[in-house]
Symmetry: C2
Subunit: 207 residues, 2 copies
DNA sequence: ATGATAACGAGACGTACAGTATCGTAATCG
DNA sequence: CGATTACGATACTGTACGTCTCGTTATCAT
């Protein structure tokens, strides 16, 4: 709510006549969206609420985003994602990264926004066009950790790493979103161990 | 749409005075809900649409279900779930069951209803009370297959089978709901193999 | 300077739909 | 046969999306 109104900052635009769009309003809208996402969740978030929180007219929002959904997707893209941590072993990396990421689920609206976006995409496939690059970027550190695993010889080189990444986050997604479970930090180790070692009995020492 | 109006069928009710609730209307409402779920998906489904499709007044719906959501949950509970198939090996069971189940995802609104319910539960935890027993029943055959695996010696007896079940369905849930991918039947085998064998390189023959 | 242009905040408006309430009617019980 | 309750239909309230129109303000071209 600083007094300075209309800071302009569209310097580089070429043939733009008329008043330039306010970068301040843009930021205020995204900030308000994230705040409300955190406070009331996705389905209770209203565009009117965002406008009033941001001190902005509704038209200013609809001038930049065609509907509520892309706005939320863009705000969602600013939420914390996987953070690359290199501990020297694949199991260590994954456990550290998952533990860290799970903290974000308790301190941000990630846990409510994720399934809401998934639900919306099921009816509105074009949402995927906006959402997919965001999701892809968010899991890149996970893929990087797996690639280090291949380089270290921990993972067979012909492994489908994309599938492996889904295997590792899968149980968390299922429990968090579909079963509504809280995931204790103490569950991370068994989860990673099971995904890395597999469900089948290990016969190495059995003969 | 048989002509027979008001078939009653509350014979056993004790102190019930007045006109009994119509079992026919009850069924027509659930049928219409499932049909519309299939045709337009969850978010575009309206109670007015269900009422008109079922040939029923809105009040008749709200007399039986307190809101749209429990109605949809009950209709959802009638959609096909895992079907227990015993092939003699764990891998065979899982591959057959997943392949079969994936067919349902292309022929019913399961793929849209699932994430919608997940999204709703994130904001409305009491939905879990209704939803959890339904979900639990739906995955029971999966747990049964894993228990057979333990009995056969394919799985170590101290394995967390609940987690193992989440590990197996996890990649499917992630790809289907969050990434919006179609899952080819040819992907089922690699998925099951990776979950059963684990991500780590198998060192058995390596020494 | 000054006029054309376009974004600005505010908010009225149209549409859609959830959920409630009220019709007159119909079915069941005592 | 009268009390009671469900029935289908529909009017109503409230909310929120997305559009539109205000009068105003910032920027560009001349």
């Amino acid at each position: 709510m600083s007094a300075e109104a209309g800071d302009g900052l569209r310097g580089g635009e070429s043939g733009a006549a008329g008043r330039p769009r306010s970068g301040q309003a843009h930021r205020a809208i995204l900030d308000a969206t994230l705040e409300l996402l955190l406070e009331v969740g996705f389905s209770a978030l209203t565009v009117e609420g965002v406008a009033s929180r941001a001190g902005v007219g509704k038209a200013t929002i609809y001038r930049r985003w065609p509907s509520k959904l892309p706005l939320v997707v863009e705000a969602f893209g600013r939420l914390p994602a996987f953070e690359d941590i290199d501990t020297g072993t694949l199991a260590g990396d994954l456990k550290a990264m998952l533990t860290r990421y799970l903290e974000d689920f308790t301190s941000t609206p990630l846990a409510t926004v994720y399934p809401s976006l998934a639900a919306e995409r099921a009816h509105n496939p074009e949402l995927g066009l906006v959402l997919d690059p965001v999701l892809k970027g968010r899991r890149r550190p996970l893929e990087a950790a797996l690639q280090r695993g291949v380089a270290r010889g921990e993972i067979a080189p012909d492994t489908d790493l994309d599938l492996a990444a889904d295997l590792i986050v899968g149980p968390i997604a299922v429990r968090l979103f579909f079963r509504g479970m809280k995931i204790q930090p103490s569950m991370v180790d068994p989860m990673v161990d099971l995904a890395l070692g597999g469900v089948l009995r290990d016969l190495r020492g059995t003969e």
